[in-house]
């Protein structure tokens, strides 16, 4: 069972850089062909100062540049083999583009036990700001912990 006293706990903040080479690797993996994401001129024509990132890439940046990408598991007392990703939400407030340096500030926003304790839902909310201090996005994830129930 997950200790509910971790509600409100802040995880280690992290700084992530939107690097063009890593972003290209992501686009190629997904077969992303939208000119907006591939052509700086097309991005500028659409009003962006530089090439923007696809809508789920914030999640990747948070994992890539974390010193401990699975710190939330340590806090929850769970291991990788017993968790699933339940839900994911992004709220976009300002563009995120190649060259940006982002600050991610995650915290455990809530914990709920389900199915008589067989599973626990943990809600992790992350505020994202850029190098100018602009609040660019909020990311929320629900982690499903499949609890080890004594037989």
């Amino acid at each position: 069972m997950v200790d509910h006293s971790v509600i409100g706990r802040r995880l280690a903040p992290l700084t992530a850089h939107v690097e063009p080479g890593r972003l290209r690797f992501f686009r190629e993996t997904l077969g992303e062909s939208n000119p907006l994401y591939n052509d700086a001129a097309a991005a500028k024509a659409a009003g962006y100062a530089a090439t923007p990132v696809p809508p789920t890439y914030l999640f990747c940046l948070e994992m890539m540049d974390a010193e401990q990408a699975f710190e939330f598991l340590t806090v929850l007392g769970a291991d990788l083999a017993q968790v699933l990703h339940g839900e994911q939400r992004f709220a976009y407030r300002a563009p995120v583009m190649v060259g940006d340096t982002l600050l991610f500030e995650p915290r455990i926003a809530g914990i709920t036990d389900k199915k008589g304790g067989a599973m626990t839902l943990a809600f992790v909310e992350t505020r994202v700001t850029n190098q100018h201090g602009v609040h660019v996005a909020d990311c929320s994830r629900t982690v499903v912990v499949l609890n080890k129930v004594a037989a």
Binding site: F26, T29, L36, G47, T56, C60, E87, Q88, R89
Partner: protein
């Protein structure tokens, strides 16, 4: 692409199919996403955790849905994008992502449309059930 101001409730605005998910794709996504959870690429680890095989990262499937979404909707109009991971996406799955206009809403003082989104495999099994709010 529909002009967002011409949208009507029920309009199907998002529709895109993807090639089968291969082990190679999972390995590439492991590196490209920074999600190094071995359960998606290491068969031994997946079996030890009680799964018959490796399976797709939920966020790989959401990235496909995001791509289908931004193929149809100009990204500057995207306000929120969310999904529930309904079931595990198996190797070989051929995903189809769809979205229709569910309703018009006011979001933080702005007139928006809420799109209902799904990702299904080739058997019609729902993998993702999500939504996006777009400015119109």
């Amino acid at each position: 692409m529909s002009e967002p101001h011409q949208l009507a409730v029920g309009d199907r605005v998002v529709h895109k199919s993807f090639p089968p998910i291969s082990r190679h794709k999972l390995a590439l996504y492991c590196g490209a996403s920074g999600d190094h959870n071995p359960i998606h690429v290491d068969l031994d680890f997946a079996k030890a955790a009680g799964y018959p095989d490796v399976f797709a990262h939920g966020m790989l499937v959401m990235a496909c849905l995001g791509q289908a979404l931004t193929d149809a909707i100009p990204p500057p109009r995207l306000r929120t994008f969310a999904t529930r991971f309904v079931s595990i996406t198996q190797l070989g799955a051929r995903l189809t992502c769809e979205g229709h206009v569910a309703e018009f809403v006011e979001h933080e003082g702005e007139r928006c449309a809420r799109l209902a989104l799904t990702t299904k495999d080739e058997n019609g099994d729902v993998k993702l059930a999500g939504e996006a709010v777009i400015a119109i």
